[in-house]
């Protein structure tokens, strides 16, 4: 019993070490690749696959988040006669938390699954070994373009989700609840500033990086057979999901502290 637990603990530590090395190599290689012009076509291809094709699903996700928030929050605010603050509540929730997190979760499913399945299949059919055997670093050729595409495009996709969340929330507020649009937008503008939008977009940068490295790592290390690839996809999604939530918490704490440090400066400038 103790021996089994010990063996499992050692295995987990070794696995964490391998993952750490993979993340380090992916980060260093991506930084180097971003300055090499030959990498750009590969990044461009991945940006199309990862980013452009995710736009519809991200926009739908964002719109439903805003619409649902409007329906859920209206009764609470109307009970206190504060229904005109609905826009304020929806928009701050969408741009700071729900837009980035739910968009990232959607991307983890759509992109993460595809990356893990593609690289996992390449791994079990020895295509990754073939890349290595021809003197090419698979991290540079396969991981760096995907990581760079995710880092660049996840924040952009989050902006799309935010916009659609704001539009969806506003439409439900105006059309279903008959809220005065002027008061709605004035109070929204009062409650949401550039900092809030910036925090959400910066979160996207970290979420995109986490999704890319986890999905690529799981693809590179997946076991043989259809079951191995399937299991790797599941593990990649679960690990990405937990990482998104953990990063969201950490970034919320950091952004709050940073805001408190710089808040006095803002009032001095304003």
């Amino acid at each position: 019993m103790i021996g089994t637990l010990g063996a499992k603990a050692i295995q987990d530590v070794v696995e964490a070490g391998h993952f750490g090395r993979f993340v380090w190599r992916a980060a260093v290689t991506s930084a180097h690749s971003s300055a090499v012009r030959r990498t750009y076509p590969l990044v461009w291809t991945q940006m199309n696959l990862i980013g452009v094709r995710s736009v519809p699903v991200i926009m739908i996700t964002g719109a439903f988040v805003g619409m649902t928030l409007a329906v859920q929050a209206y009764d609470q605010l109307a009970g206190m006669g504060l229904e005109e603050y609905l826009g304020n509540l929806i928009n701050i929730s969408v741009v700071k938390e729900l837009g980035p997190v739910l968009a990232a979760v959607m991307l983890a499913g759509r992109i993460g699954g595809a990356l893990t399945a593609e690289l996992g299949t390449m791994n079990v059919t020895e295509q990754i070994d073939a890349v290595r055997s021809m003197g090419t670093d698979p991290i540079r050729y396969l991981v760096a373009p995907r990581l760079l595409a995710c880092l660049l495009l996840t924040p952009v996709l989050i902006i799309y989700a935010d916009l659609m969340g704001i539009v969806g929330g506003a439409l439900v507020s105006f059309l279903q609840f008959g809220i005065n649009s002027r008061a709605y937008w004035d109070l929204s503008a009062y409650g949401v500033d550039f900092w809030d939008v910036g925090v959400g977009v910066v979160k996207g940068f970290f979420f995109g990086g986490a999704i890319a490295v986890i999905s690529c790592y799981k693809g590179f290390t997946c076991r043989e057979g259809a079951q191995g690839v399937g299991q790797a996809c599941t593990e990649a999604f679960v690990m990405s999901f937990i990482s998104i939530l953990a990063l969201d918490f950490a970034l919320a704490v950091v952004s709050k502290n940073v805001y408190e440090i710089f808040w006095p400066l803002k009032s001095m400038i304003g």
């Binding site: 030959r38 073939a130 055997s133 021809m134 003197g135």
Partner: protein, 283 residues
Amino acid sequence: MDKPNEGCGDSPAENIIEVRNLTKRFGTKLVLDGVSLAIEKGKTTVVIGPSGCGKTVLIKHFIALIRPSEGEVCFRGRRIDDLSERELSRVRTHFGYLFQEGALFDSMTVAENILFPIRQHHKKHPWRQADDLVKAKLAMVGLDGFQNYYPARLSGGQRKRVALARAIALNPEVILYDEPTTGLDPIRSDIINELILKLERELGVTTVVVTHDMKSAYKVADRIIMLHNGRVIADGNADYIRNHPHPVVQQFINGQVSEDDLAVLRMTGSAGAAQFLPRDFEE
């Protein structure tokens, strides 16, 4: 190449690859057990042995796709098993590797597969010559005209020939073949054998073939090495192997099951006893 490393530096010039006391473990499983051998330049060496004896693991060590648990791997008098992946990139361009299933990139056409290593290493290659280069490489394996096909549309034998065209794209000094005839019919197997001989003759490459196809081994080999339980048990030319006294060698080259294996089969129950399920589902 850089200056020779300590240990590998005393390797004779005619040995292009040398492994010394090579041991490989996967977890607790010992796959290679202190293997020492040298591959002669310009010759065809065939590694034979039953499935799972460590043949593929051995040749993957030659280009450090797998790192040894113990021992050394030398290429042209330089130790390579302790190099970083970045340093190995240059070493690996001296090798062509034909994978068992071809390992063609299925998202690329045949032409793009062949151009892949060239694009990676020849940064200023005159791209107007690319079509001619692909045509020449495909002509060598008898598949000119298949440039725009995707691997999924090719037969098993064609896929291996395209993979071979890709393996010779960088004009390597050594070509490693991993089970090149496995899964092919006898005629297509012989086409691959003829290609191995043709490339050796025309390009002057050193060839290492891993196989359990004895017909193929006898046809292409200058030297045959037999692995059993992770160790070399026989090493010599085709005649030496044919007349080798070791019973395992004789059972393998003649395709005979050993008495021990037969005894196990007899002990593990009769086929009749295993048919306990009535075939009434057919009615």
